[in-house]
């Protein structure tokens, strides 16, 4: 029986972030957290392998404030969760996150397949999956929008810019999945109630061989980007539609928006 792990990030719901003032500082005053969108796809992949093929399926996460996420994630299919909750992980980047996740996954042991979302809803650095693969010594398969289990490995379809690549591999792997791989479930009443009976294992950084001080990072500044409007009026002064259309095309070419 295969053992599958899905990793997820507990992120700020971007709908609640407000960009303020000229400095474009980000206001996090009234924010809520959620399971990062693409990670929900990753969890759904694991849940369906668990339900349809009887694989063992666990969730894994880390962060400074992730305990609020446990009930939610467990209602989405995993049989249990292992996590690290440590203030030192307040401002981690993908390098630190992947170290911690790798530590947890090694601790779980004998994991055949790790599934992550292609990128997180907040940073979207697309690094955690591949880094995790390197740290675990697993194969790395990205941009996956179709995944099957084989006898001793996986068969995955990668959706690339210029086509679809099908890869087959044997041995353990870390797969990052795209949002169109499935439709994540909205947990049902019974799934929510069942989640309350599932187990969660809290691990300390020391228990996975990491030192919280060495991991501590500080972010100096985060600010929003806003696309300034150019306020160009194309058809002012009674210009005909034909002329305006031509002027618009020229403008778009000049801007590099049209090749």
């Amino acid at each position: 029986m295969k053992k599958i792990v899905a990793c997820y990030k507990w992120v700020v719901d971007e709908a609640d972030i407000r960009v303020e003032g000229k400095a474009r500082s980000l206001n996090f005053d009234r924010i809520k957290y959620k399971i990062s969108e693409y990670d929900r796809n990753a969890i759904e992949v694991g849940a369906s392998f668990n339900e349809k093929q009887g694989c063992q399926f666990l969730a894994v996460t880390c962060g400074a404030n992730v305990e609020a996420s446990l009930k939610d994630v467990l209602s989405r299919g995993p049989e249990s969760i292992a996590y690290v909750n440590d203030g030192a992980l307040e401002e981690t980047d993908s390098s630190v996150t992947s170290k911690v996740l790798a530590g947890i996954i090694k601790k779980i042991g004998e994991v055949d397949l790790v599934i992550c979302g292609e990128g997180s809803s907040d940073g979207y650095s697309q690094q955690v999956g591949p880094r995790l693969a390197a740290l675990l010594g697993y194969a790395s398969v990205t941009f996956v929008n179709k995944l099957e289990l084989t006898e001793d490995g996986i068969r995955a379809e990668r959706k690339l810019e210029d086509g679809v690549e099908v890869v087959e591999l044997t041995g353990p792997a870390v797969v990052t999945v795209l949002p169109d791989i499935n439709k994540p479930r909205i947990p049902s009443l019974k799934q929510i109630l069942a989640a309350k009976k599932k187990t969660s294992e809290k691990l300390e950084l020391a228990a996975i061989g990491l030192d919280s001080l060495a991991l501590k990072q500080k972010t100096l500044d985060v600010s929003g980007t806003v696309m300034e409007r150019k306020n160009i009026q194309i058809n002012s002064g009674g210009m005909t539609i034909e002329e305006a259309a031509q002027k618009l095309v020229q403008q778009l070419k000049a801007d590099g928006s049209l090749a």
């Binding site: 009234r30 809520k32 909205i186 947990p187 049902s188 009443l189 019974k190 929510i192 109630l193 309350k196």
Partner: protein, 429 residues
């Protein structure tokens, strides 16, 4: 809980549902609260003021731990015409007296806190789940249906708010009629705490409540409200649903005009709109009271129409809380007997009958009809403004004695009408 059957399932984690869940869990019952919003309070709105008495009785000193915004120490009623206003201001230490005081609240925070109290007490909260139907066997409610899932319980408490489709399904209530509900819209406008305190003359922690009658609803039944929160102002309108559109203004347009009124505009100046919401308010009073219980089922709070809507002010949360408490008491008593049939759950109605809920609803029972009288919302604000205009506008013309000018304005409304309304209003209030 025997097997997979809960002692009690509560639908809705508003104040009525969470309080019922809190008390039942405290009494050791296995309780499941089901909330369709992603978290308790996520879909809920209120004007903004919680009268503390009923919650204080259940959780003494709650205001110290609950996320309340400000304690109201200042009340103002303002009558508006298109360009003028007359206000009556009441500020008193009495308003702050414990158990009689009131607090402004924002529901997203407050409801979450109350639901977490129920969870701490041992209730299970399942949020993000909508109950679609009830399981009814031989006329007895035995559980709920949510999507594919069925869940059974000895008794179900319907705390699902004003438009309780479930109470209809249980045969306790008919479909809402337009004249039984008002519509409320509200904006939350952010301003720094110190600006709010300066503008409304408040100390930190203190709050103001303002009600507006007249032009804000274009003379229709209803009114405007303004409550100060910590860092924001809740500003909105409530008016009878059957009245909407008759003045050619849409609901958002009415709110926009209200915000532009010279008596309101400076109060919200420089503020930033952070939230916009709309909701129904039951306002039929006693006349729309449903059957409050049936075999295996009870209805509480807005779902039971337990709201006092005096047109310009709405009171529902303290009633919701007290009705949740009464329902919990009735369920606990029923559990002791192991009998959840209607005659046994009738205890709930007895408790309500002997509480402030029915006393106040009875007192206000003619109020909805009294309010249907449009003079209150059209002519009286104009009358007040006219009288004050004569008092204060000095243009060099000879002044007429107040009695005479006031009388001439009153004649426009009709002295008999005025006396009639004053008599009726006085009797009800």
């Amino acid at each position: 809980m025997s097997g997979d059957i809960f002692d009690c399932i509560i639908v809705g984690a508003g104040p009525s549902g969470s309080i019922a869940g809190y008390l039942l869990a405290q009494a050791g019952l296995e309780v499941l609260i089901i909330e369709r919003g992603n978290f308790a309070g996520s879909k809920n709105m209120t004007g903004g003021r919680l009268y503390s008495h009923s919650l204080e009785k259940i959780i003494p000193g709650f205001s110290k731990e609950a996320p309340v915004e400000r304690r109201v120490i200042k009340e103002t009623v303002t009558m508006l015409t298109g360009d003028s206003s007359v206000s009556l201001d009441f500020q008193s230490e009495l308003l702050g007296e414990e158990k009689k005081d009131s607090y402004t609240v924002l529901r997203a925070d407050f409801d979450q806190w109350l639901a977490s109290k129920a969870e701490e007490a041992g209730a299970i909260l399942a949020s993000g789940v909508r109950v679609d139907d009830l399981i009814i066997q031989d006329g007895k409610v035995t559980g709920v249906i949510a999507g594919e899932d069925e869940m059974e319980a000895d008794v179900v408490i319907l705390a699902d708010g004003v438009n309780s489709l479930l109470a209809q399904k249980a045969g306790l209530k008919a479909e809402l009629k337009p004249d039984q509900v008002a519509v409320g819209i509200k904006e939350v406008i952010e301003l720094p705490a110190n600006v709010i305190e300066d503008r409304f003359n408040l100390n930190p922690g203190e709050g103001a409540a303002r009600l507006f009658v007249g032009d804000c609803t274009k003379g229709k039944i209803g009114g405007g409200f303004l409550y100060t929160n910590k860092n924001s102002i809740s500003l909105g309108l409530v008016f009878t649903l059957s009245d909407i559109g008759t003045e050619g203004l849409s609901v958002p347009q009415m709110l926009e005009e209200f915000k532009q009124h010279p008596a309101v505009k400076p109060l919200i100046k420089g503020g930033k709109l952070v939230e916009y919401s709309g909701h129904l308010v039951p306002e039929g009073g006693l006349t729309m009271l449903p059957k409050l219980y049936g075999d295996g089922v009870l209805v509480v709070g807005d779902a039971a129409g337990l709201v006092i809507n005096a047109g310009y002010t709405v009171r529902g949360m303290d009633l919701a809380i007290a009705s949740g408490e009464a329902a919990a008491q009735a369920v606990i008593a029923a559990q002791e007997k192991g009998d959840y049939t209607a005659p046994n759950l009738a205890h709930y109605k007895n408790l309500l009958d002997n509480s402030f809920i029915m006393r106040d609803l009875t007192k206000y029972q003619d109020f909805p009809i009294f309010m249907e009288n449009h003079r209150i919302f059209k002519q009286y604000p104009q009358l007040a403004v006219d009288i004050f205009k004569d008092l204060y506008l000095i243009d060099g013309n000879p002044l007429k004695p107040l009695k005479k000018t006031a009388l001439s304005h009153m004649k426009k409304v009709g002295i008999v009408n005025l006396l009639k309304d004053a008599w009726k209003g006085g009797k009800i209030l």
